[in-house]
């Protein structure tokens, strides 16, 4: 390995070796025959599409579950982890995609929480934190309150937490998913610093350009197994993409514009207040026309969820009005709004979209429990609901043995396709699509985009909220940026770049994107931390 800092260390055992790891899970492809060797003092990237099994693999390595087969070697010694604390004892730490931090505590308190035995909770701990922060160039102040910090800082605190516990190998699970491009660059500088100090970083991502810029070695995972190991200097994003999906990467794009003049949903001055009376959606005015997809870009927790819930009648609006086809729906109940022709693809399908323990055909009724063909009067129409579920399964290519399986048995992508099929039934006028392709495999992703395009061509008005900037740029006719509950910018999706969008999302210029973005939405973010990767 040419990237090891000195010749001596080439003789050192590998930091981590995984041999023949197999992990079986109900219903979804997990891992089989995984072989990865990670050299010490390198950044090793593991790439793969959503649902390819990256997170499962890392949970295995971090001791969150045991592999069914295979062995794990740390510094040449075989180990067995029964829990994450075993992994930490062997110098393996993990920074999760969703931060595990307590907002109301200081940085110091968050770091020492659960590791009080290391250096106590007082002066020793503080000086150790300062030492680590200086050594790795993290720039973390131990006495700041966590809720004052932006996403980038929070991530550095998470890294510090792991270092504080003596980790020599750090796993970063999709660390860039919550960052804007400028913060990503900072993170990469930190990673290079860690590497220089001799630590090993395992970096999980599905964003190829990032991986190419930071990694020393890349392992590609497809359908639960390792398919190749690549040297980033000798490979291109296109080659990696081909390895990842076994074909071309689908690109979201719209063809000709289908936007009409007819306004379907109109919001004027919509303000939603949090229980603490803080405006979480602040004076939002927005028109969505027939045949138009309006995208909302923003760092998670900037009022997107509250905006959706306000539209769906699940959250009270402090001021402002929402009209649907000219009718004031501001004070309508959720059911009435749905009956009026509003479809809803929720951001967290397990919480809001499906009944996991009910069969698919009963899930067809959910949200449509007052409409044909699922019900007749106040009676459930089993035959009707079943027949229509069959239709959804075939039209939306839901991979399931039949409609009697419980929703939980399907993979996330298939659950999502079923939800979309359901929300598209009954001729909706307007669709709220929140992260429609989150945690969904590549095939399902392009199918979902195609369905949205078709519905748009048929005259559906769509509000699209996503964390995937490519998806937003590719699928939107109009693109707004939301920051601390306000629509701060409108971008032209035909010309805007993800970098420009990211800059607008932090409210900063193109440079100096030090994000203090979540100040307005950190509370809301906490409620959105549910893993929605379909159990992969």
């Amino acid at each position: 390995m040419s990237s090891t800092p000195s010749g001596d260390e080439a003789l050192e055992p590998f930091a981590v070796e995984l041999h023949g790891i197999t992990k079986r899970f109900p219903g979804v492809v997990a891992n089989h025959d995984i072989d990865i060797t990670v050299a010490p003092g390198t950044v090793h990237a593991i790439v793969g599409e959503n649902g390819a099994g990256k997170s499962t693999l890392m949970k295995t390595l971090y001791g969150m579950h045991k592999p069914d087969e295979g062995q794990i070697l740390v510094r040449g010694q075989e180990v067995r982890f029964n829990s994450p604390s075993d992994a930490i004892r062997h110098g393996i730490g993990m920074v999760h995609q969703h931060f595990m931090l307590a907002d109301n505590l200081t940085v110091l308190e968050n770091v020492v929480l659960g590791a009080e035995r290391k250096h106590g909770i007082g002066r020793n701990a503080r000086s150790r934190i300062q030492e680590l922060s200086a050594q790795y160039g993290l720039g973390v102040d131990p006495d700041r309150l966590m809720e004052e910090l932006g996403v980038g800082d929070r991530q550095r605190v998470e890294i510090l937490k792991v270092l504080y516990r003596g980790a020599e190998t750090i796993i970063l699970d999709e660390p860039t998913a919550v960052l804007v491009p400028q913060e990503v660059d900072e993170l990469f500088d930190n990673l290079r610093e860690l590497k220089r100090e001799g630590l090993t970083v395992i970096f999980i991502s599905h964003k190829l350009d990032e991986v190419l810029s930071v990694a020393d070695e890349i392992t590609v995972i497809r359908r639960g197994t390792t398919v190749a190991t690549a040297d980033p200097r000798a490979t291109t994003a296109r080659e990696l993409a081909t390895l990842m999906v076994g074909g071309e990467l689908p690109v979201p794009e719209l063809r000709e514009s289908t936007v009409t003049d007819h306004v379907v949903l109109s919001m004027t001055g919509v303000t939603v207040r949090s229980p603490e009376d803080r405006p979480v959606v602040d004076d939002v005015s927005l028109d969505i026309r027939q045949g138009e997809i309006v995208g909302i870009a923003g760092v998670e927790g900037n009022g997107q969820s509250e905006l959706i819930e306000a539209i769906m009648g699940m959250r009270r609006i402090a001021s402002g009005t929402i009209t649907l086809e000219g009718r004031d729906i501001t004070d309508w109940a959720t059911l009435r709004i749905r009956e009026a022709g509003v479809g809803y693809i929720p951001e967290d399908r397990h919480r809001h979209g499906v009944l996991l323990e009910s069969p698919l055909w009963e899930n067809r009724i959910l949200g449509h429990q007052t409409r044909r063909p699922s019900v007749r009067g106040s009676w459930i129409n089993r035959a009707g609901a079943r027949a229509d579920s069959e239709r959804i399964v075939s039209e939306y290519d839901v991979r399931t043995p039949n409609i009697d399986v419980i929703a939980d048995a399907l993979s996330g992508g298939n659950q999502q396709k079923f939800i979309i099929g359901r929300e598209m039934s009954g001729d909706p006028r307007f669709l709220v699509a929140a992260h429609p392709t989150r945690g969904v495999d590549v095939g399902a992703q392009s199918a979902i985009w195609e369905q949205l395009r078709e519905a748009r061509a048929a005259g559906l008005a769509v509000l699209l909220i996503s964390a995937d900037l490519d998806e937003l740029i590719g699928m939107s006719d109009t693109l707004h940026v939301i920051l601390r509950g306000r629509l701060v910018a409108e971008a032209d999706p035909t010309s805007v770049t993800p970098e420009q969008l990211g800059s607008a999302m932090t409210g900063a210029g193109l440079d100096g994107a030090d994000a203090h973005t979540t100040e307005g939405g950190s509370g809301a973010e906490g409620t959105n931390r549910n893993e929605s990767e379909g159990g992969a």
């Binding site: 109940a333 919480r351 991979r399």
Partner: protein, 492 residues
């Protein structure tokens, strides 16, 4: 599938063959053997025939209710087939035993074999893995509970099997059976009341207070208000429903409007109900002297009674409460409400995932209030079979604590309208059968130990088995889909 191009035998023909074989064998063997041994062999033969003919029986619907192709999977072979066999034999034996009370033995055995053989066919082809798993769970829980009780007896220096034998003998006496049925009618109503709450993840501990208050006021209405027959019963029942509903509705309202946990409020309301009944049940107010040391509401006129059903067919002089039909109607309504109505769907949806229900436009608060209300309305009925069918007044000795038994029975019956029937019968059987034990100098509390162990084991074993079964099934689905995904991937 496999039947294409091969000779097949139509399903009804197989059924007929199985039944004929089973009945004929039983009838013939009955001449030489004990009836149950003959029946066992007869049903076994029928089951064997069904199994042997299975490959050439065109039956495309041999797919489990949960959607996996089950045939040939290990689970199917080691669990579903034995379970269907056991259930077929058990069904045959029980029906023969019941029929034996009425008919002469050879006929009863033959008819039992008919039931058993038909069951053998139906279960062999239709029993879904999850159902089989549930039965297996209950069966193994029963075995564990018996073992624990036996151990307790053994270590107390009492011969376990002799004791069980005594209980079984006493519990199946005609008078005991009527008593068991009557108790289980009451238990059933209480358990359904609890189950409505459970379906919504609401814990109505207050059934006890609700039914006692409802029974007292209904008895007072019946005792003081002389009305023509039918109208009188309707008024009494309506009073009980209203009182139970109001009392539970208070807890529902507190939960919805003030966020008070229904567990706390219903416990409090139980205490208040105890106080109110004690206050009202005094000779200054609603009560009169019933006997020298008992006071109660004035006995109802005969026009308000609900006549019992003579239990001659069980060989007993006693009567089964007429309100058994009310309990049956409640069961049917509960099932219909839950599975066939929009309200029931919303109730189950809210119970499964409040967030998903909310996002789907279910008014969760309304559902909480209504289900609490309905639970209380059913709870109001609990005291009526006893009141209208037997005692005709509410006195100090009116049975208390049935609400808590209802909780155990709802757990035991998995909140299922049919499951609760069996749970209630089992509970009442243990209650009744234990009555003989003091005569043998055995502590009666043995029955309580058995009941508690059964509830615990059923809840635990059922949950464990259920979880395991679901995982297993998901794996099966994953395997099936994995294959199709793999093959379609290659085809591209």
């Amino acid at each position: 599938m496999s039947n294409s191009g091969r000779r097949t035998v139509a399903a009804p023909v197989v059924l007929l063959l199985a039944v004929v074989l089973g009945v004929a064998a039983t009838f013939a063997l009955d001449l030489f053997l004990l009836w149950w041994a003959a029946l066992l062999i007869g049903v076994t033969l029928a089951f064997g025939l069904v199994a042997a003919l299975a490959p050439i029986t065109p039956d495309e619907r041999r797919i489990g209710a949960d959607g996996t192709k089950e045939e040939g999977t290990p689970l199917h072979n080691v669990l579903v087939l034995p379970m269907s066999f056991i259930l077929a034999v058990a069904g045959g034996l029980v029906s023969a035993w019941v029929l034996d009370l009425q008919l002469i033995e050879p006929v009863a055995a033959a008819l039992g074999a008919l039931v058993g053989s038909a069951l053998a066919f139906v279960l062999f082809h239709r029993l879904a893995a999850m159902m089989a798993l549930s039965f297996a769970a209950v069966l193994s829980a029963g075995v564990i509970a018996i073992a624990v009780t036996a151990a307790v007896l053994y270590f107390s220096g009492i011969a376990p099997f002799q004791t069980f034998g005594r209980m079984a003998e006493f519990g199946t006496r005609p008078d005991s059976m009527v008593q068991i049925i009557n108790s289980s009618i009451t238990y059933y109503l209480a358990a359904v009341a609890v189950a409505i709450g459970f379906k919504m993840k609401l814990f109505n501990i207050g059934v006890d207070g609700q039914y006692r208050l409802a029974a007292l006021l209904a008895a007072a209405v019946g005792g003081y208000l002389v009305l023509p027959p039918v109208i009188s019963q309707i008024v009494i029942i309506a009073t009980a429903i209203v009182v139970g509903g109001v009392w539970a509705g208070i807890a529902g309202y507190l939960k919805v409007a003030r966020g008070v946990s229904e567990v706390i409020s219903t416990i409090m309301l139980n205490a208040i109900a105890t106080g109110i009944t004690a206050y009202l049940l005094s000779t200054d107010r609603l009560a009169v002297e019933i006997s020298t040391n008992n006071i109660g509401t004035p006995p109802m006129p005969e026009s308000a009674w609900v006549p019992g059903i003579p239990a001659g067919f069980l060989g007993s002089q006693r009567e089964i409460y007429g309100l058994v039909f009310l309990a049956a109607a409640v069961g049917v309504l509960y099932w219909m409400m839950l599975n066939r109505t929009r309200f029931g769907f919303e109730l189950r949806a809210t119970g499964q995932s409040q967030t998903a229900a909310e996002a789907s436009g279910v008014n969760v608060k309304k559902m909480v209030f209504l289900s609490m209300l309905f639970s209380g309305m059913i709870a109001g009925l609990v005291g009526l079979p006893q009141l209208l069918g037997h005692s005709h007044y509410y006195a100090l000795d009116f049975p208390a604590g049935i609400g808590f038994i209802g909780i155990a029975i709802a757990l035991l019956g998995r909140n299922h309208p049919v499951g609760i029937v069996f749970a209630a019968l089992l509970w009442a059987f243990l209650d009744q059968a234990a009555g003989i034990l003091p005569f043998d100098g055995i502590p009666q509390e043995i029955a309580v130990i058995a009941q508690a162990t059964i509830v615990l084991t059923v809840v635990v074993v059922y949950e464990v088995v259920h979880r395991w079964g679901r995982r297993y099934q998901q794996q099966q689905i994953g395997k099936q889909l994995g294959r199709t995904v793999e093959s379609s991937g290659e085809a591209q």
